[in-house]
């Protein structure tokens, strides 16, 4: 019996053997959920108490950008890493991984639709950042909308595809993170603690950060999309567009 065939058999057998193990796992976990102690409510209370010092009004934003702002900082880093990693997979930037067939950029209806939708989306994104300080919203939501706008543009063939790797794009991508990190380190200079915003400035700074972050997140999401879905345009003349890329 060849090894390969042997493995297939292992594969089949082990699949069935997995089932009881995972059922047991499920049982254990369910039991654990059921026996979890009731919340002690300490943390929500602390959040409440410190809201006034957080510079924002919405607890979620407060946690996200102030109390646990460091998590968020790193998480933006993760996003940036993902972009870099995706790009690195296709170091030349010439071809994407998936092929999408694009509609013609000259489609009038599409153009009209986009010309309405896109400004709305940008507006919405700005609003989301603004509202984040006292209602659900914030940089991520905003960034997601911006990203979606970019994706729309890309898939309609209006944005150079694949999403350009020009320095401008890279600055947009890295800008949010860099700014956030710079602020973080500047607060060390002034307050001796990472991300310790001066109380009076907290709100402003968070807003500033969120704005920049939103741009970066949007860019990142779009870049991820573009990186995964390299666009192939069948029409003549399109190669010139395809070749456009960063230096």
């Amino acid at each position: 019996m060849s090894l390969r065939r042997k493995h297939r058999r292992w594969y089949r057998v082990s699949r069935w053997a997995l089932l009881p193990v995972f059922i047991a796992l499920a049982v254990v976990l369910v039991q654990t959920v059921l026996s979890t102690a009731p919340a002690n409510g300490e943390l929500p209370r602390l959040v409440d108490e410190e809201m006034s010092a957080s510079g924002v009004l919405h607890p979620l934003t407060a946690v996200l950008l102030n109390f646990r702002g460091y998590d968020t900082l790193l998480e933006i880093g993760v996003l940036l890493v993902a972009v870099i990693a995706v790009w690195s997979l296709d170091a030349s930037g010439k071809s994407g991984h998936l092929r999408l067939r694009l509609p013609s950029p000259n489609n009038a209806a599409l153009r009209v639709d986009l010309s309405i939708i896109l400004p709305l989306m940008v507006l919405m994104a700005g609003y989301m950042v603004w509202i984040g300080s006292y209602r659900p919203g914030g940089a991520f939501q905003s960034g997601a909308i911006l990203g979606a706008a970019a994706v729309t543009l890309i898939s309609s063939g209006m944005l150079p595809a694949p999403f350009g790797r020009s320095r401008r794009t890279r600055l947009a991508l890295a800008g949010g993170f860099s700014f956030f990190m710079t602020v973080a380190i500047l607060t060390v200079l002034f307050k001796g603690r990472l991300l310790n915003y001066p109380m009076a400035w907290a709100g402003t700074m968070i807003l500033l950060i969120e704005t920049l972050l939103a741009v970066s997140i949007g860019a990142a999401l779009a870049a991820l999309f573009a990186g995964v879905a390299g666009i192939k345009v069948d029409e003549p003349g399109s190669p010139s567009r395809r070749e456009e890329r960063g230096p």
Binding site: G41, A62, V63, V78, A82
Partner: protein, 102 residues
């Protein structure tokens, strides 16, 4: 059985299912989907836990948000990688087994 328990149990079941899928589905995209299901399960549990007590706990929500971003990033990268793999190896699955005879 409280609402929290129902969400929570759903969460962990999703988690187990996701992991099971990851282990058993050969196709890479299915593996990724399974992973996403699993992470959705965990996030669901987190959100459910936030609803305990008299006051809504904002911390798990923030954590979930963070988790989602991470999950998105990772998934995007994984998809790109899977696509790249398929392009190079011609197969949407990982070789089984990975280790060759030396």
């Amino acid at each position: 059985m409280t609402v929290v328990s129902i969400y929570g149990i759903t969460g962990v079941l999703l988690f187990v299912m996701g992991v099971f899928g990851l282990m058993t589905q050969p196709h890479l995209l299915k593996k990724l989907l399974s992973l996403n299901i699993a992470s959705a399960g965990v996030f669901l549990l987190m959100v459910a836990l936030a609803y305990r007590g008299d006051k809504l706990d904002p911390v798990p929500h923030a954590l979930v948000l963070t988790g989602i971003v991470i999950s998105v990033s990772a998934t995007a990268y994984a998809v790109a990688l899977a696509a790249r793999l398929q392009k190079i190896t011609g197969s949407p699955t990982l070789e089984e087994p990975a280790v060759d005879e030396p």
